[in-house]
């Protein structure tokens, strides 16, 4: 297991190197310069700034400089946003997004699994149909619609939670719910389908023939076997939730990374774009590793070994 993880980390570093390289050159292909919005600057001032940030060097030299910095852990200084080091920007902006995404993921998955189980147990009953309708609505209606509704009723009309902004824990509640609806609906659909299939399998009949109770059938024998496909879809979803969603962050005025990322692309703030992309990549790769480890924990037939091939 340890050998397996070490091997995966080695591949992760290679993957990150490739991602950094590709992003760097793609970014340079974008038309315009970081200074195109600064109309007040004279020609000579412009030269000075470009020289200061090393933007006059040939692109390969800029690349080598950036990568050397990266290896030392230096992500550079933002061109905009008051010349803050990129590392600081990430440290400031990441936590709100991670908190919202993490909460939404946990809450959404657990609620979704419960809905899915209820639907499977009361297969073709009204609870099943209700839960299916909720799942379809949850996947098809965009989150900003829910966000608006939540703000209007829970915050404005009934005053239960703050409408927007960031600060206390209460501020996280509404955006978390808005974000959680999509993963919840997805988890419910997958759990229902998979559970129904598992309940029809031979080993469930064996368990019934042993005299196992209905709840034992569902939780001891069924649940674990029906979780595998769910893990597969929830992984990438976890990343997209935790890397911040622009729409939800805008609506609830949350100072998260999603909003930051978009504005840094608008102004061609090269170091911030690179830093954010790399951070997202690390997150994604780590979650993929976590998924693979989870597979092994859920299903003993999937064994992780160092020499695997």
């Amino acid at each position: 297991m340890l050998r397996y993880i070490l091997r995966r980390i080695f591949y992760m570093i290679i993957t990150l190197f490739i991602i950094a390289t590709v992003t760097f050159f793609l970014m340079k292909l974008l038309p315009g310069s970081p200074l195109s919005a600064e109309n007040k600057l004279s020609e000579s001032q412009r030269e000075v700034v470009l020289e200061k940030y090393g933007l006059n060097d040939p692109i390969p030299v800029q690349y080598v400089n950036y990568m050397t910095g990266l290896v030392r852990g230096d992500l550079g200084i933002s061109f905009h946003f008051d010349n803050t080091p990129v590392t600081d920007i990430l440290i400031n902006r990441m936590p709100p997004s991670m908190v919202l995404g993490g909460q939404a993921l946990i809450f959404g998955t657990i609620a979704g699994i419960l809905f899915g189980l209820i639907a499977a147990i009361y297969h073709n009953g009204w609870l099943d149909y209700t839960s299916t309708v909720i799942a379809v609505l949850g996947t098809s209606i965009p989150s900003f619609v829910f966000a608006g509704l939540l703000q209007w009723y829970l915050a404005n009309e009934w005053g239960l939670f703050p409408v927007a902004l960031w600060g206390t824990y209460a501020h996280t509640v509404l955006p978390t719910i808005a974000l959680a609806i999509f993963p919840m609906a997805t988890a419910a659909r997958f759990t229902r389908t998979e559970m129904l299939e598992v309940l029809g399998s031979d080993y469930i009949t064996t368990a019934r023939a042993k005299g196992v109770t209905e709840s034992g059938i569902i939780f001891k024998h069924g649940l674990r076997n029906s979780l595998i496909p769910l893990v597969t879809v929830m992984g990438p979803m976890a990343v997209s939730l935790m890397t911040g969603t622009l729409v939800i962050e805008k609506i609830f005025a949350v100072p998260g990374i999603g909003e930051q990322f978009v504005s840094s692309i608008e102004v061609l703030d090269y170091p911030t774009i690179m830093g954010t992309t790399l951070l997202f990549s690390v997150l994604f790769i780590v979650i993929l590793l976590v998924i693979d480890i989870l597979y092994g924990l859920i299903d003993p037939r999937i064994r992780l070994t160092g020499g695997g091939r």
Partner: protein, 351 residues
């Protein structure tokens, strides 16, 4: 010997979109303590459905018991609630299923799957259940039991898995063990081992066995009594000797005739022509008539009743009626009947 299980006029149907499929159409049989009853028939004859009805494990909501009584130790279990059935299953009546590759939970340790019944029905502690599980694994012939009980099913071979399934079924010393084609999915050498194992265990635990199979060779090996099923009915029932030495029903002749033997010079293996009837609209008269070359006029009009051949032997065919023409089984079947008789003599001679 007292009757452990009595099935009276059992009818089982399945609701489908095209109508009611009558899988079992009124069968009666009983099972005594410690005996082995084989239920034989081709696919779709209703033999598995019968045992699923006894344990009330019919696929819900399509399958249901239409009429009939199933008396277990005198109690009609068709009226039992789900809770009562849960107490009965695994403790008094347990089942060994056909396919060991799919009948074990892939994500649960084998030991835990065996111990589950012990903890539930016998109220054992985890440690006691572990002890007993090791004992059971050794009983069914799984070596290194202590190591094996912590393994998952995928680490077992097919034969070992079926042994584990047998261990699950035996965990609580059931009074009735239902074996639903337990050897069909296994290769021949393993089949023999599993049959041997079940016979040994029966001797040790004094359980009654209902053995479902389509393989008469297996039946000859294990059964005290045999019930032959066709199209949801029992067409012939008797002791193993009755069925093998003195079969009366043309369908039984067909089954015996289509058994491959090593010593015959026959060029072609006999096969019963045609296919079983559509149970959505069961035919009038004798369901086997269209495939029966000895069929009489009356077979297409009226269902034959059970004729008594001897104290233990009954068959449902008009050929046994006093007005029916005397028809001897076909020659190939007679040869096989003699074969069985001489095999048995040989055995007795050795003993």
């Amino acid at each position: 010997m007292s009757k452990l299980l009595e099935v009276k006029d059992l009818r089982v149907s399945f609701k489908t979109y095209s109508g009611e499929v009558q899988a079992v159409r009124g069968i009666d049989f009983d099972l005594k303590k410690g005996e082995t009853l084989a239920i034989v028939g081709e696919s779709g004859s209703g033999k598995s459905v019968t045992t699923k009805a006894i344990t009330k494990l019919l696929p819900e909501p399509q399958g249901y018991i239409k009429t009939g009584e199933i008396l277990f130790e005198g109690q009609d279990i068709t009226k039992y609630s789900n809770k009562q059935m849960q107490k009965l299953r695994g403790r008094d009546i347990s089942t060994v299923f056909q396919d060991p590759m799919t009948s074990l939970n892939p994500t649960m340790k084998v030991g835990k799957q065996i111990a589950e019944g012990l903890i539930k029905h016998r109220k054992m502690s985890k440690a006691q259940a572990r002890e007993k599980t090791i004992e059971l694994l050794e009983l069914v012939g799984i070596p290194q039991a202590e190591k094996r009980l912590n393994q998952f099913p995928h680490q077992f071979s097919g034969g070992m898995r079926q042994r584990a399934v047998v261990a699950i079924a035996l965990a609580c010393n059931p009074k009735i063990l239902i074996a639903d084609e337990p050897t069909t999915a296994l290769d021949v050498t393993i089949q023999a081992q599993i049959l041997e194992l079940m016979k040994d265990i029966q001797r040790e635990m004094d359980s009654a066995i209902i053995f479902i199979t389509h393989d008469l060779g297996v039946v000859a090996n294990v059964a005290d009594r045999v019930a032959v099923m066709y199209a949801g009915k029992i067409v012939e029932v008797g002791t193993a000797d009755d069925i093998f030495y003195n079969p009366k029903h043309p369908y039984t002749w067909g089954l015996l005739g289509s058994m491959p033997t090593l010593d015959s010079d026959e060029e072609e293996l006999f096969a019963i022509p045609g296919s079983p009837p559509d149970m959505l609209n069961p035919p009038e008269g004798d369901a086997f008539a269209p495939r029966n070359r000895f069929a009489l006029e009356i077979d297409t009009q009226m269902e034959p009743p059970m004729f008594q051949v001897s104290d233990t032997h009954y068959a449902a065919t008009w050929l046994l009626h006093e007005y029916a023409p005397k028809i001897e089984p076909p020659e190939s079947v007679q040869r096989r009947m003699q074969g069985f008789a001489s095999m048995d003599d040989g055995k007795d001679g050795e003993a």
